[in-house]
């Protein structure tokens, strides 16, 4: 790609084009607004923007799709920032899990509100108000009841089983998508892939593992790979799943990418974090195989460390 022209920084941005789940805006109670809050990203450990809606009953992920050199016309105005921001329902357990893993080292049963606290991110306690949070703790922790109080202790075994189910659900969705695209433009892909059923299945698994790895630590991602009985790939190749690249996520490698300049934890000045380096990844897309979706969706930096 040719060197980018120097552009004046986009400092005046105060408008965003968003595609949001109807549940976030069409609430029964209109007096209950939604809040964009910063929480600890489970994969990067850094500040990241999320949304709590329906009076904290539902957590949403805020994810921006971005290509270089795009802008919007909105009605009779120009909006320089060409990103498209998606607000989609998110499983709060992904954000709760790191706190359990941390406290799990002490190996005691604790009340959940003592586990999920964070001086740096006080909003994390609001995660416990999400409808699904408390009921789903059993997927990552053992539970004991004493009187009316429940105590929990992190369980890696349970967590692995839970994550495996997540991967399986994702494989199903990927296959469903693929069948529908297989009828159209990508029919050659579909046919080619069909002729190698074994590697095909593994591709799906790796691929789904890569997507799930966006929401867990690098250690957990490796453990999950083992749990899925997928061998670690030895050398980096084109077919490598995005999760493998993410192993370096604690290193400053990703921070060297030039899109980090957008990844401020400041929502308003330099809008929502989470973005894909869509332009870059699109250039890498292997249109001959199964990879486009994973290359597209996965490698991204969500927010910078403060």
């Amino acid at each position: 790609m040719a060197a980018k022209k120097k552009r004046a920084p986009n400092v005046q941005n105060d408008s965003w084009v968003v595609i949001a789940a109807d549940s976030a805006i069409h609430t029964q109670k209109h007096d209950r607004d939604a809040d964009f809050v910063k929480l600890r990203n489970p994969s990067t450990d850094a500040a990241c923007l999320y949304m709590l809606g329906c009076g904290d009953a539902q957590l949403y992920e805020v994810k921006a799709f971005e290509e270089d050199f795009h802008s919007w016309f909105v009605g009779q105005t120009v909006q320089r920032d060409g990103r498209l921001v998606f607000v989609t329902p998110m499983d709060p357990l992904f954000l709760i899990l790191p706190y359990f893993i941390k406290s799990g080292k002490e190996a005691k049963f604790q009340p959940v509100d003592q586990v999920v606290t964070d001086e740096e991110f006080p909003a994390c306690s609001r995660l416990l108000s999400c409808t699904r949070s408390l009921a789903s703790l059993q997927h990552i922790a053992e539970e004991k009841e004493a009187g009316s109080t429940k105590f929990h202790r992190y369980s890696e075994e349970k967590t692995m089983n839970w994550l495996k189910k997540k991967v399986e659900r994702t494989v199903v969705a990927l296959k469903r998508r693929n069948i529908s695209v297989g009828e159209g433009v990508k029919s050659t892909t579909y046919v080619r892939v069909k002729s190698e059923p074994d590697s095909h299945e593994e591709d799906y698994l790796r691929y789904a593992h890569g997507l799930i790895s966006e929401y867990i630590s690098a250690d957990l991602s490796r453990a999950l790979l083992k749990h899925l009985e997928l061998p670690e790939l030895l050398s980096p190749k084109e077919t490598e799943p995005p999760s493998k690249k993410r192993k370096l996520s604690d290193n400053p490698v990703e921070a060297g990418e030039d899109y980090t300049k957008f990844n401020s934890a400041d929502f308003v000045r330099k809008p929502p974090k989470k973005m894909t380096a869509a332009q870059k990844t699109l250039a890498k897309v292997d249109k001959t195989g199964m990879k486009p979706m994973s290359s597209f969706f996965s490698p991204k930096v969500k927010a910078e460390k403060n």
């Binding site: 789940a21 809050v37 498209l84 929502f267």
Partner: protein
């Protein structure tokens, strides 16, 4: 250092007053935020042919396609109201416009299913698989 405790409120009820607005995703960076005579000088040159939509922008022919928002999703344009001076303060955004479909424009390549924005529309379905509840 930015503040992790500040919150940006989304004024949800503002969606009721928001108007449907046409939105176009342009294949170039326009170094401007603000008013422009879009319908007069841009939308007016849109042409629908048999299989494609074209428009002329700054003397270049663009090829476009309309995309609907995924099922269960609504397009919103959020705008900040009363920008505060520091990033310690809470902020508020409101819904200034809504849309159910958008038009994206390519410079040379005809619109196709590999276009980033088309693939992005698949995200909600994948996100549902990743984040939906798992069975016991």
């Amino acid at each position: 250092m930015s503040c992790n405790t500040s919150v940006t409120h989304l004024n949800v009820s503002s969606v009721d007053k928001a108007q449907q607005t046409p939105v176009h995703l342009m294949p170039c960076e326009i170094e401007h935020n603000g008013p422009a005579k879009v319908s007069q000088y841009f939308a007016a040159t849109m042409k629908d042919h048999k299989h494609e939509t074209t428009v002329s922008f700054r003397g270049r022919g663009l090829k476009g396609q309309e995309l609907s928002c995924p099922q269960g999703y609504t397009g919103l344009v959020l705008k900040e109201v009363n920008k505060p001076g520091s990033d310690q303060e809470d902020r508020t955004v409101k819904v200034s416009s809504v849309f159910n479909k958008l038009t994206y424009w390519n410079l040379e390549t005809p619109p196709n299913s590999d276009d980033t924005v088309v693939m992005a529309m698949d995200w909600p379905e994948l996100a549902e698989a990743i984040h939906g509840p798992v069975e016991e």
